[in-house]
């Protein structure tokens, strides 16, 4: 008799999960010229809320949406927003933070306090990007959330020469540096949820965050992105709900997001066309001085 070890087990461990919680669909008030602001009121869970990117997103969305601000560090914010302190790797904490949430903005930004030791730091970054993202996506699916936006990085294309135009069609070549690689692994973790569940997942591959007013006189960089524009990209991505698409590749989407220099290498046409992202801070003075 053949003895076979069957290695197949596709489902989450022993835990039960349910994806049948139905929520009313949100309507985008189409026709508004400001794409970023057209998404109607939502209750939004924001991770990495204390990071510079998180703060920029609070400024962008705080007025029109109810935000639940999640971070290891306490976040100071307008009292009408809720603050939850904890780690994305803490399943119980994440589960309770997901209650009544309609959209998740998972910035992917690590907490400010990281271990000094390089190995311990990299272990933590890996754990946050992989297990943390998994905990968050699983809770989102189980809570019936229809929209998740993840913050990845354009550094995945660093090995490509400067004489090519990088669109979303190019194969990522992440270096094994954990800061870069972990964001890529976070992307892939999100993607598997979009593959198997009716949830709309958007990954934004962001350039390097620098405020335009803080880099006066510096040499311009093709990857620069003002955090205010990064926040606008998250706002734009909120308008996307393809959760009911029967085709997984429509439930998942990736957009490249950076400023628009005179001779761009990283093309943002897809983000402009699909979610209406148009950067406002393009570092023109830095490029002119070049």
């Amino acid at each position: 008799m053949i003895v076979t070890i069957n290695l197949r087990s596709r489902r989450f461990g022993a835990e039960a999960h349910s994806i049948d919680i139905v929520r009313p669909e949100m309507n985008c008030a189409a026709g508004n010229d400001d794409h970023a602001k057209r998404t109607a009121f939502m209750r939004i869970l924001l991770t990495g809320a204390a990071s510079p990117l998180g703060r920029a997103i609070i400024d962008e969305l705080g007025e029109n949406h109810q935000l639940r601000l999640f971070d290891n560090d306490p976040v100071e914010a307008d009292p009408r927003h809720e603050v939850v302190t904890g780690s994305v790797t803490d399943a119980d904490r994440v589960w309770s933070a997901m209650r009544d949430i309609e959209a998740v903005l998972h910035t992917g930004e690590p907490p400010s306090q990281l271990p000094d030791d390089e190995l311990a730091r990299d272990q933590m970054l890996l754990d946050l990007a992989t297990r943390g993202t998994h905990v968050l996506c699983k809770a989102a699916v189980e809570a019936g959330v229809k929209r998740v936006v993840y913050g990845s990085t354009l550094d995945l294309f660093e090995p490509y020469p400067d004489d090519v135009y990088i669109s979303e069609m190019w194969k990522p070549q992440p270096a094994p540096h954990m800061v870069t690689m972990s964001r890529y692994l976070g992307e892939l973790t999100c993607r598997e949820f979009a593959r198997d569940f009716h949830i709309s997942m958007t990954a934004l591959r962001l350039g390097r965050l620098v405020r335009e007013d803080e880099v006066a006189g510096q040499d311009a960089d093709l990857l620069w992105l003002d955090p205010r524009d990064a926040a606008r990209a998250f706002a734009c991505a909120l308008s996307r709900d393809t959760s009911q698409s029967p085709v997984w590749s429509s439930r998942w989407a990736l957009y490249h997001v950076c400023a628009l220099p005179p001779n761009p290498k990283y093309l943002i046409a897809a983000a402009t066309g699909a979610i209406g992202f148009e950067p406002q801070h393009n570092f023109a003075a830095n490029w002119k001085a070049d």
């Binding site: 008799m1 053949i2 003895v3 076979t4 070890i5 069957n6 290695l7 197949r8 087990s9 596709r10 489902r11 989450f12 461990g13 022993a14 835990e15 790797t89 399943a91 190995l119 272990q123 890996l126 754990d127 992989t130 297990r131 998994h134 905990v135 996506c137 699983k138 699916v141 070549q173 992440p174 270096a175 094994p176 690689m181 890529y184 692994l185 892939l188 973790t189 598997e192 949820f193 593959r195 198997d196 569940f197």
Partner: protein, 240 residues
């Protein structure tokens, strides 16, 4: 005659290790390692892949590392062992100049491709389960490190593994996508011996049963020279 290659075997006491090691022990100088004791009482070094120092110390002086560790369904340990463990292995290989890795994981072609045929090397569709996701992430880590540090990494993907039937089996079809131990021995020897592999990293769906036209082994044939020692489908012939 050259000395045997020295190979660190992680997961020596697991589901696969005890069946694989006997096929390698004659030709390689194996350092067996695991976090638990071997089911047959064979001596294994205690190495926890979730601890980088333990992996690095065990890998010192080795020519190759074989990673057959896994945690399947634990929400935390699956990440620590399967994902972080793979990172530790690649990092140790880079640090110590080890140039060959044999990695392992579950097939990620069933489910979404269950109704297709001639399935060879399609994009994998692992899905979000702990086992599938953490092993998918581990393969991406292997890929990034192999590319950056010129480490030749071969990853074998399994659906079922088992001993060959003792005699003819009638009344049932053979199992799809299942490899018998002698073929896995062969595949691992080929992987340990091959000089280099395209893009420094390749993964292979391995099995031992030819005939259904469902899962193809063309890529393993072409790149590794793998061929089932005996087509196991021959054990499942209908008597006529």
């Amino acid at each position: 005659m050259a000395a045997n290659k020295r190979v660190l075997f992680l997961g020596a006491a697991g589901l696969i290790g005890p069946h694989l090691i006997p096929g390698l022990a004659d030709d390689y100088d194996l350092r067996l390692a695991d976090v638990k004791s071997h089911p047959d009482g064979i001596d294994v070094d205690h190495v926890d892949v979730t601890d980088y120092e333990q992996v690095r110390d065990a890998a010192r002086g080795m020519d190759a590392i074989m990673n057959f560790t896994v945690v399947r369904n634990d929400a935390d340990q699956s990440f620590h062992v399967s994902t972080r463990g793979a990172w530790h292995v690649m990092r140790a290989a880079a640090e110590l100049g080890i140039r060959k890795i044999v990695h392992s994981g579950p097939e990620s072609v069933r489910g979404h491709y269950d109704h297709s045929f001639d399935i060879n090397d399609p994009p994998l569709q692992p899905g979000p389960g702990y086992y599938m996701t953490t092993k998918m992430l581990s393969r991406e880590i292997c890929k990034a490190w192999s590319r950056a540090h010129d480490i030749q990494t071969i990853c074998f993907l399994f659906n079922g593994l088992g001993a060959p039937p003792e005699g003819p089996v009638s009344g049932s079809d053979f199992p799809p996508f299942t490899i018998v131990w002698p073929d896995l021995h062969q595949a691992c020897r080929l992987a340990l011996e091959i000089e280099s592999i395209q893009d420094n990293y390749q993964e292979f769906n391995l099995h031992s049963h030819l005939g259904q036209g469902k899962f193809s082994i063309d890529k393993a044939r072409r790149m590794l020279g793998y061929e089932p020692l005996r087509n196991m489908a021959d054990m499942y012939r209908r008597p006529i």
